[in-house]
């Protein structure tokens, strides 16, 4: 077993986890909302990009940005429907509503795209790079770089701009924000659009690693949950750390112990962390 290769695998896996989770981090941090349709939105992002490539014959590099745009629009529609519940911060109903959206997407996608696995192929997934014993693809490089760039940009916007301050203030107290002249409803829509667009980008970059199915999404939502909670709910830096931590753990545990138990082991780590640091890594 090559430790250096496993570290690379861990970084690649971890950047994927962090990227899939980034939208939820902002959603939970900024809007105090959960979205259990997150996994199905990931599936929808992958299938949208795949369909654009298959039916319109466009290249992967056009299809992924288009899928991001489409999912952003889906976000506007979804948040429009949930707006009253969101403004009332009716979290229990929102959990059920988003769970419902997830099932509707899954059923709808199966109807439209069929139940068979499809090959969502990125032209750079097969372009590999070798350094002696070490091996990775250009897709891995793009995913890693894209993740780091997106997290850096998000951190800057959230902490260094007025827009970030607006999002943070709505997270703290949407009612009070209204008195500051801020349209809290619009901020919620913006955050939700970001979530949907970000998960579509994640799907565009991560999903080509394996065949895509309309039934996928559950693993992604569970992993996102782990990353977001480990990172400290709503913490951008914490999510990045937790994503890479989980990726590294999965790669090393899979190589050293057994890939069959990695999810169970990951949850064991989650439990241990939450017992010792109930507010996640980012807690001060």
């Amino acid at each position: 077993m090559n430790i250096a290769q496993q570290i690379i695998n861990g970084l690649v896996l971890g950047s994927g986890y962090a990227l899939i989770a980034i939208g939820w981090t902002v959603l939970l941090g900024a809007a105090r909302l959960v979205n259990f349709a997150h996994g199905q939105l990931y599936m929808l992002g992958a299938f949208t990009a795949w369909a654009i490539m298959q039916k319109l014959g466009l290249s992967y590099f056009v299809a992924v940005p288009l899928a991001v745009l489409v999912l952003g629009l889906v976000g506007v529609v979804l948040q429009g429907m949930m707006l009253r519940l969101v403004m009332e911060q009716n979290l229990t109903s929102l959990m059920i509503v988003t769970l419902g959206f997830g099932y509707v997407f899954q059923g709808g996608a199966a109807k439209v795209f069929g139940g068979d696995p499809q090959a969502f192929i990125s032209p750079v997934e097969t372009a590999s790079i070798r350094f002696g014993e070490l091996w990775f693809t250009w897709q891995d490089v793009i995913t890693l770089a894209g993740t780091l760039l997106l997290f850096a940009a998000l951190w800057l916007v959230m902490n260094r701009t007025r827009l970030g301050a607006v999002v943070r203030c709505v997270a703290e107290d949407p009612k009070l924000a209204q008195l500051f002249g801020i349209n809290a409803a619009l901020v919620y829509i913006g955050v939700f659009v970001f979530e949907c667009a970000a998960v579509a980008l994640a799907a565009g970059l991560v999903a080509p690693r394996s065949p895509i199915l309309t039934s996928m999404g559950f693993d992604e939502v569970i992993l996102t949950f782990v990353v977001v909670v480990l990172g400290g709910i709503g913490s951008v830096g914490g999510s990045l750390l937790a994503g890479f931590g989980l990726g590294m753990f999965t790669a090393l545990f899979g190589a050293l112990v057994s890939p069959a138990y990695t999810t169970a082991a990951a949850f064991l780590v989650l439990l241990a962390v939450l017992v010792l640091r109930p507010r996640g890594f980012a807690a001060r």
Binding site: A165, E172, D173, K175, L176, L179, N183
Partner: protein
């Protein structure tokens, strides 16, 4: 004198309870109007209704006009944009944001005619303490400093009429006096202000006009000088305070 703010027949219901029962309010241009009454008289409910804002889900009826323009049906952030700016009771700033971030959330209007605009320099001259604390988070400030930020935030919005709900709550008496005197000085420079207060004595010294509310109804109103000698005020507030 024209009224900058005019509200008529304001009724506020929470479920089956009538919290405010048909009250008219008028704030003349450049005047300071005080509103006093016991706990539960409906003062906060009324001033919140003027701003179209609430933490609960009340049913509000009646009409509100700002500078002659109807505010009815406008969301609270729209009313704030038009210059009807409320500083709510209690939590008035964001704890996770620094003082300067709190103040920068407000976008001053482009057109400040009919409005009372305050630059950041004006704010820091008014409250020098805030200049020292500008990079501190709201949650690290003292009660008095928080109230200064809350008021400053409202001033940055260039209010046409400022609505202040119990700015003195939880403050030391000296700070209350300082804050209310500062507000009076702003009114003397032309600001129109509606002040809800528990502290009747301090309010009477500063306001031009006083409203007395009891159980959701207006029981007395008049110039401050006359209200000082109103038996209801003497008996219920000043009397008990001197005793």
């Amino acid at each position: 004198m024209t009224n900058e703010l005019e509200a008529s027949q304001i009724v506020v219901r929470y479920g089956g309870n009538v919290a405010v029962d048909g009250i008219d309010v008028a704030v003349p241009a450049g005047a300071m109007v005080g509103m006093v009454g016991a706990n539960g008289a409906g003062k906060s409910t009324l001033i919140n209704a003027l701003a179209g804002w609430s933490r609960g889900a009340p049913v509000v009826r009646g009409s509100v006009r700002l500078g002659g323009q109807s505010m009815d049906g406008l969301a609270p952030h729209r009313r704030a944009e038009r210059g009807l700016v409320l500083v709510p009771e209690g939590k008035g700033i964001f704890a996770d944001l620094t003082v300067s971030e709190n103040l920068a959330l407000v976008r001053p209007p482009a057109d400040t005619s009919d409005r009372h605009a305050f630059s950041m320099d004006d704010i820091y001259t008014l409250f020098p303490r805030l200049a020292e604390r500008r990079s501190h988070k709201g949650g690290m400030l003292s009660g008095g400093e928080r109230q200064m930020v809350a008021v400053s935030r409202a001033l940055r919005a260039a209010p046409r009429v400022l609505l202040l709900d119990e700015p003195s709550a939880g403050l030391a008496p000296r700070l209350v006096h300082e804050l209310l005197s500062t507000m009076r000085a702003l009114v003397d420079r032309g600001l129109s202000l509606l002040l809800v207060e528990q502290n009747v004595r301090a309010t009477l010294e500063l306001v031009d006009e006083l409203y007395l509310l009891e159980r959701g109804r207006l029981v007395a109103k008049g110039p401050a000088a006359a209200m000082k000698n109103d038996p209801r005020i003497l008996e219920a507030y000043l009397g008990s305070l001197t005793a």
